[in-house]
């Protein structure tokens, strides 16, 4: 570089040297806008089909430029995490920072290379735009700033969850999943964008964004407080919930690998790390000091019945729960195996519920030990929440043999400690989670007793396509040595000399008819025989409504074999409400949601 000395005087002639410019080619720029660069932050576009209306763009917008507008023509489905809100942008405020682009969980909103917009003073409405596949002027422009892996503001990967290895878990009923450490939980919680799709999706509308944030802030007690606002079965749900919330989670809607927040494991983490004493204090919060003088009977100490009882007690009523079995929890105790839900966790949930003042009478079977009529007489209202305790039968030939059993009956025996002959080989009919539960439970017992697993699961549905059980269940079952035969229908239980020898199956052609009704078609030629000492039917449960008694059965309105209820769980009989599996199902969180609804309605009724 040429040096210029400060003391040089310069010359008056120097600038004239630039006259040479007259000899140079002039620099000309074409009129009209020049094309922008490939990552230009120009006007927005939004893929309305990809966008789920999570509002993250609105929240990150540093200029309050985004208004969420409701588009009625777009489908809304809370359980899938779809809202019909879409962003509209005020270009009077936007600064084209592209933070909205970089946060969008679905990569729906992007920017183009278009940047020219001219309008008159009275056309300011044109500043408020609704980005669609085409930009501000309805023209297609090349994309400019779009989200890249680097610019993505969201952490797409779930913190991995530790699990027991198959060899270590197969001969016992110990819990499989490790749970988060504090550090992992905070990291996992930090991924949440607080869109609330989970809360909308959850049947009980658990305040997941709130407790996730509390966990992120390390305030686990606060998190548990949020949980108890909506769910007294938080331990149970922290382990076995069907987590519809995670299906809805906006992070799960992302392109490519994008995991939803592990909401269920976060709940489990918070519950596991707050002391029982503290949880009891939290559960009591908001309990009415005044006694209402009203009493309510609840039939069935499952999640539905106990949630209703919990709420009603907190509202100042006296509640008695009648339970036919020696312990409370319903299917969560006598159905869900210990390796998924350790019973001490369930015990704690129930202990907390009892500590608020819920009185449970065990070993009282309503219908035999005490009649419904009696309950009505002694109480101002009655809640029926008896679940579905009876297994359904396939009714195929041979299914009346005593070695053909129902999954729920068998599952109930294990926690009760009832003795039964563990079969050396067994076939489970059914492809749902209950089938997996019984198959995996039997596998454990076989391993303990015979040191080898011999279980076949035979299901109508096709693996990887229509299969009903969760993927995790399928993977883990296979790891544990269980054979899954998909697309097979049961034909008969083969009986020789009154002794069960196995199950014969046929190939499934289709499961539903044209109207979408359940009507499986089989290829009768394609036969297969599975040797077994025991056949377990796991094809569904039903409610034992015979306990209602003839008179009440007559009085009630019915709907396809179930008691008819209104949106609040009230039956057609004034003093009777019903909740949980027996009227709705299919899982714990729905039972809990039902319990709340019923309690609210009863409270209103009693205060009338």
């Amino acid at each position: 570089m040429k040096k210029i000395n400060y003391n040089d005087k310069g010359s008056i002639l120097n600038p004239l040297k630039n006259l040479q410019f007259y000899a140079r080619k002039p620099v000309t720029e074409p009129l009209g806008p020049r094309p922008a660069s490939a990552s230009y932050r120009g006007f927005h576009i939004n893929d309305l089909d990809k966008c789920i209306g999570c509002s993250s763009c609105q929240k990150i917008c540093d200029n309050a430029a985004i208004t969420m507008v409701e588009v009625p023509s777009i489908e809304e489905d809370a359980s899938k995490g779809l809202r019909n809100l879409r962003p509209a942008i005020d270009y009077g405020r936007c600064c084209w920072c592209a933070l909205c682009v970089d946060i969008c969980p679905t990569s729906a909103i992007e920017m183009t290379r278009e940047y020219v917009h001219v309008c008159d003073g009275d056309e300011t409405d044109s500043y408020f735009i609704f980005p669609k596949e085409t930009g501000i002027h309805g023209d297609s422009f090349e994309k400019g700033w779009t989200k890249t892996e680097d610019s993505d503001l969201l952490d797409r990967a779930r913190r991995p969850m530790g699990e027991m290895e198959p060899e270590a878990r197969i001969d016992n009923f110990d819990e499989i999943v490790d749970g988060f450490t504090m550090e992992m939980a905070i990291e996992e919680a930090s991924r949440c964008v607080d869109c609330g799709l989970c809360e909308d999706a959850c049947p009980a509308h658990m305040h997941a964004p709130n407790y996730i944030r509390s966990i992120y802030e390390g305030n686990l007690e606060q998190a548990v407080e949020w949980m108890y606002e909506t769910n007294p079965f938080s331990h149970v749900c922290g382990r076995v919930c069907t987590h519809i919330c995670e299906t809805a989670c906006s992070l799960g809607h992302g392109e490519g690998e994008s995991d939803p927040i592990a909401i269920r494991w976060l709940k489990r983490f918070a519950m596991d790390n707050v002391s029982k004493t503290k949880i009891k204090q939290i559960a009591r919060k908001g309990k009415s000091r005044k006694k209402s003088g009203k009493s309510i009977a609840v039939v069935g100490a499952g999640p539905a019945g106990l949630t209703a009882a919990f709420d009603l007690v907190k509202k100042g009523h006296k509640v008695t729960v009648y339970e036919s079995l020696p312990k409370a929890g319903g299917m969560t105790r006598y159905g869900i195996p210990n390796y998924r839900l350790p019973k001490d966790r369930l015990d704690q949930d129930i202990e907390v519920i009892q500590s608020v003042g819920v009185d449970i009478k065990y070993n009282v079977k309503v219908g035999t030990d005490i009649s419904m009529a009696q309950l009505q007489k002694d109480n101002h209202a009655v809640v029926m929440a008896i679940g579905m305790q009876m297994g359904r039968s396939t009714r195929i030939p041979g299914s009346d043999n005593k070695m053909v059993v129902k999954a729920v009956d068998l599952l109930r025996m294990i926690p009760k400690g009832d003795e039964f002959n563990v079969p050396k080989s067994a076939v489970v009919i059914g492809g749902g989670n209950v089938a997996m539960d019984i198959a995996r439970s039997l596998a454990r017992l076989q391993k303990q007793k015979y040191n080898e697993v011999n279980i076949t699961v035979s299901a109508l549905e096709q693996l990887g396509k229509t299969f009903l059980a969760d993927d995790d269940e399928v993977i883990e079952s296979k790891e544990e040595g269980i054979v899954i035969l998909d697309a097979r229908g049961p034909k008969q239980c083969v009986i020789e000399n009154n002794k069960l020898t196995g199950l014969e199956t046929v190939k499934v052609i289709s499961i539903f008819d044209e109207q979408g009704r359940f009507a499986p078609k089989y290829d009768e030629e394609n036969l297969q025989f599975h040797e077994a000492d025991m056949v377990v039917e796991a094809i569904g449960q039903m409610s034992d409504v015979s306990i209602l008694g003839d008179e009440l059965t007559e009085e009630l309105e019915w709907n396809r074999g179930r008691i008819q209820i209104d949106g609040n769980g009230a039956t057609s009989v004034e003093w009777l409400w019903s909740a949980g599996d027996m009227v709705k199902g299919p899982d714990v969180i729905n039972a809990v949601a039902d319990g709340h609804r019923v309690a609210d309605d009863i409270d209103k009724f009693l205060n009338k």
């Binding site: 310069g10 990552s39 990150i60 540093d62 920072c97 920017m111």
Partner: protein, 380 residues
Amino acid sequence: MRPENYQAVKLGQSNEYEIFIGPNHPGIEGNYAFRLMLDGDIVVSGKADAGYLHRGFEKLMEGRLWIQNLAIVPRICVPDPAPMEVAYSMAVEEIMGIEAPIRAQWIRTMQLELSRVAAHLFTFGGHAATTGMYTPMFWGVADRDLVLDLFEDFTGGRVYSIYNIPGGVRRELPPEFLQKLSNLLDYLESRQNDYDNLLFTNQVFVDRAKGCGALTQEQALELSVTGPNLRACGLAYDVRRDDPYLVYDELEFDIPIQTAGDAYARILVRRDELFQSIRILRQIIERLPSIKGKIRTPIPNPLSWNVRKGEAYARVESSKGELAYYVVSDGGDKPYRVHVRGPSSMHAVQTLEFLAKGARLEDVAQIMFSLDACPPEVDR
């Protein structure tokens, strides 16, 4: 006081009179006013009048999420916005105890130097214009635009890049970018003669600039003058070298100085600095391809990001001098306090008032621009 409600002060019998220059005038990059008391055409005293660009940034930042602030910090200095983003990000990183990946640090350094080039080109033009020469201004702005093209290319924005984020930068460089940069540097170097002839060795300019607004080194130090303005007084002080950040300690560059401390010394320092920046950029072009790896250290999702309690004072050398961000976090999702220490807050107020005293009215604009003051750094 705003010009429209400005009323001349009634004074007793005297030869002195007051004039108000600004808030728009050729002496400043932005809106800024100056009240002068004159005796003939000699300035008796001057008083800076700021506030025309006050947007309450520091207050705004307390109400915005940590990363949202990245969209407003560059607005504090239009001609040289990159150091704002970088300094803010560095402060937040220091509080969090995280560091940008090494590749990001190189890219940031590149961004800062490019920004310096753009800013100096702008200042050449502006300074020349205060002496009545407009061609350098056209040139400066046109050449600066070529730099902005590159900014557009790799950051997506021409002026407000909004390219940094605590933990790194938002985007990889586009393909062929370094080649484009190299071409631009060739071009800028080829322009040196033109600029020298037209401006730096143009006797008309040299005569006007020499002796105008001269500061001694002592005075400069007393007034906390930094940057090229300080280096023009003979002190080779540069944050890049003396309080190194990013990868400056791996780069070779000289710190140009002059001793006269006047407007001409200042613009010569800037001229030389521009070529030092080109030298730095050349080294970056050479080294960057071999520096592989990530460009961002992950931060939690910005919607719920609580930055842990703490404070940090991050300093960088902007084209105007020592730029610092003092950031305080109380552990929340927004900064508790952000203090922007712009170099111009030292240059445009006390120093300017000091230098104006005794100057001729015609030189005031040149003094202002030769200090390269950026009013929003005063107003914030």
